[in-house]
Amino acid sequence: MTGTFVEVAAVPRPRAVVTARRPPLARRAARALPPYLFLLPAVGCLVVWTYRPLGAALNLSFFSWNLLPTTPKEYVGLANYQRLLDLPDLRNALWLTVAMTGALLLFTVVLPAIVALWTSAIGSRGRAVYSALIFAPVLVPPVAGAALWQWMLDPRSGAVDRVIGHPINWIHEVRPAQIAIVVITGWHLLGFAVLVVAAGLSGIDDEYRNAALLDRASRWQTTRWIVLPLLSPTLVFLGLMTILMSGQLTFPLIDTLTQGGPDSQTTNVYYLLWEYGFQNFDTGFAAAAGLLFFVGFGLVALALIRLSDRLTFHDS
């Protein structure tokens, strides 16, 4: 039986389209929603308290206005920014902010690290007393602390000048006033920073140290090559905190003790901003300054976070 195969055109068969039935949009949305719902309160607060005011500030920075409903808002374009950049006060304040922050790092990074490393050797009960003593200044309200220091720094009857036996007017002379502001802020922050470093230290696994001891590493070698690298994320965090918060932290002291003087030599950018916005009623100008600082500090924070990723050594 012979035959030939003839090619027969395939009968087009209607393809059965069997697609999984997609659930209706509403149900899909309902299923995807929970994570966003969980986020909503936080995002809502951020929008209401941070982004909306930021938008308002941006808008305000193009106007000359003193916030009064009876005064007309006057559109001035970029004039506020122009005036700001021409202002010699601003450059001075910026430089002082940088210098003060740098000096503060001594109190928020270097000293706390030393204190925490030293006290880590003390027994647990003694350490509790020690930590409580160091932490106490954190609990003193800034303005009350400033008033206290004002008495202690009095040039004639103050405790400080009696101890050093030389009358220095700590508040009314340029260099001493700058030192006073930095030291008092540092005094305030030291306890908190020590606490943070101590927490960082307790997070380091003892096995590393024990292993190093087994290899007969000295105490200094252990600290230098094991503890400090593992502590670096904590220290970088403290540095970041100091740089971003130093302006706010020094503000109550500047306002209570020196009001930015003498000769504007303790006026940092925050104090300058506050003077313009709330003392001189130049809200548009202050808003422009605020935005400029926001952008500036944002860039600094970004750079620091990048840097911290590169610098720090994580214990995985």
């Binding site: 916030l67 009064l68 040039p155 009857s157 009314h172 009001q259 003087g261 003498p262």
Partner: protein, 465 residues
């Protein structure tokens, strides 16, 4: 729904109140003459059973001690005599107390921006222009009528003539002058004696002031003198007196040109700088200086009499106690002393007619014979109703026991008003000027160059006309 309706009702009530308020103030505007406003335009008297509550803001409530005690007592008295009016007395809403005057204005500014201003506020004369132009203080001549305002200035013991017009702008009374002082030279009679100086002959010129200060410093080891007029915190009221006493001014008469770098002002600041450089004055801030004087650690201080209560308490409480004396401000050689006034007037901000009336009654009470008797004897501010000092039922016995008021009173007779800078940037103009002065006096900057630079900076902030 109910909530919404009530909100609409409140809005309508507000609009009504606003309309009434505007009607009340719009009626008399435009006339600078002294003809009386007809009684139809002014806010009506309160009904016998009409309950009103008002808010009163004063920087004298910001410092514990004689200031707060006196003011609280005054408000209590007012509420007793005016049972249908409740007064909430508050201090300026700023976190800190630096520079009472500017803090008071900033506080009012904030509250106005949120639409919730006090009905009566005590603001300084240095903020007068801004208070009227920007903050919108109500003209009293329109709200209660010029007759009522003038009648309040009269009375059994009329206001000192130089004081009456201090709260006026363009011939209209906006503020009733309330508490103020002139720059008084207070001195420590015991330190004078110890330094071999005669407490009966206080220095009358700045040259004598310097000599006396140096003598005190040399022979007692204490500080010689302090002029509380030369810093950002002290404000510019007595700095203006210093400059005016040397024949200068800080701004031209018409308010268009700054003059605080002219020769007389420069010479006045240079004099003060020399006091510091020679050691006659210590480098102190206001916060340090006046308590130090109260403790008996400084020989002389040029200060507002509002600090007199603090000085008297300090003098009595010090070990050993010392004697406080007062004299008129020293002069520049034989030029006449031109004293200025510090202090504040009472301004009305309420919109509601009932509240305006109640506020005016409070203003009347606070500037009455009874109130000044308290304010002068307990704080040390000038009794603007000077006749009280001769009234046996007023302050006569007190004045006999307290000769300290005498120099202040002498200076009231030849008062020159504390000038406020014009425009919305007036605070910045003032701060720029005072920072320059402070920098010259306490940091040794060159007087002419520093003041000229500051004046050039500040001139840009004057309103363009």
């Amino acid at each position: 729904m109910i909530r919404r309706r009530s909100a609409r009702g409140a809005a309508a009530a507000c609009a009504l109140a606003l309309a009434l308020g505007l009607a009340a103030c719009g009626s008399g505007s435009g006339d600078g003459d002294t003809t009386s406003t007809t009684s139809a335009n002014v806010v009506p008297e309160l009904g016998p059973d009409q309950k009103v509550s008002i808010v009163f803001e004063s920087y004298n409530l910001a410092q514990a001690g004689p200031w707060t005690d006196t003011f609280t007592a005054l408000i209590d008295d007012f509420e007793k005599t005016h049972p249908n009016i409740t007064v909430t007395a508050q201090k300026p809403q700023t976190s800190t107390l630096k520079g009472y005057g500017s803090a008071a204005t900033a506080s009012l500014q904030t509250q106005l921006a949120t639409g919730n201003a006090p009905d009566v506020a005590q603001l300084t004369f240095g903020d007068l222009a801004y208070t009227v132009d920007a903050l919108g203080a109500r003209p009293l001549d329109d709200v209660v009528g010029r007759d009522a305002v003038q009648a309040n200035f009269a009375g059994a013991h009329p206001f000192a003539a130089t004081a009456r017009t201090l709260g006026d702008v363009d011939g209209k009374t906006y503020g009733v002058p309330f508490v103020f002082s002139t720059p008084v030279l207070y001195y420590n009679a015991d330190l004078f004696r110890q330094a071999g100086l005669d407490p009966e002959n206080p220095p009358s010129t700045w040259a004598e002031f310097r000599t006396a200060a140096l003598a005190i410093r040399e022979r007692t080891g204490k500080d010689g003198s302090y002029i509380d007029c030369l810093t950002k915190v002290s404000g510019d009221w007595c700095y203006q007196a210093l400059v005016a006493s040397n024949g200068g001014s800080v701004i031209s008469e018409d308010g268009t040109r700054l003059t605080f770098a002219d020769a007389p002002a420069v010479a006045a600041v240079a004099m003060a700088q020399d006091l510091v450089n020679s050691g006659a004055s210590p480098k102190l801030s206001q916060d340090q200086a006046y308590p130090a004087f109260a403790r008996g650690e400084i020989g002389m201080i040029v200060e507002s009499s509002s600090a007199q209560g603090v000085f008297l308490r300090g003098a009595a409480g010090a070990k050993p106690p010392w004697t406080l004396r007062a004299a008129v401000m020293p002069s520049f050689d034989d030029r006449p002393v031109v004293p200025t006034n510090s202090g504040a007037a009472l301004f009305l901000f309420g919109q509601d007619p009932a509240k305006q009336r109640a506020a005016w009654e409070l203003i009347e009470y606070l500037t009455s014979d009874a109130a000044y008797t308290q304010i002068t004897s307990r704080i040390g501010y000038l009794p603007l109703r000077t006749g009280l000092l001769d009234d046996p039922n007023g302050l006569k016995t007190w004045a006999a026991e307290n000769p300290l008021v005498k120099p202040n009173l002498d200076q009231l007779a030849r008062l020159r008003p504390w000038v406020s800078f014009p425009g919305k940037d007036y605070v910045q103009i003032r701060t720029t000027m005072l920072e320059a002065v402070e920098n010259v006096v306490y940091n040794g900057a060159d007087p002419r160059r520093t003041l000229t630079e500051a004046q050039e900076q500040a001139a840009k902030l004057l309103p363009r006309s």
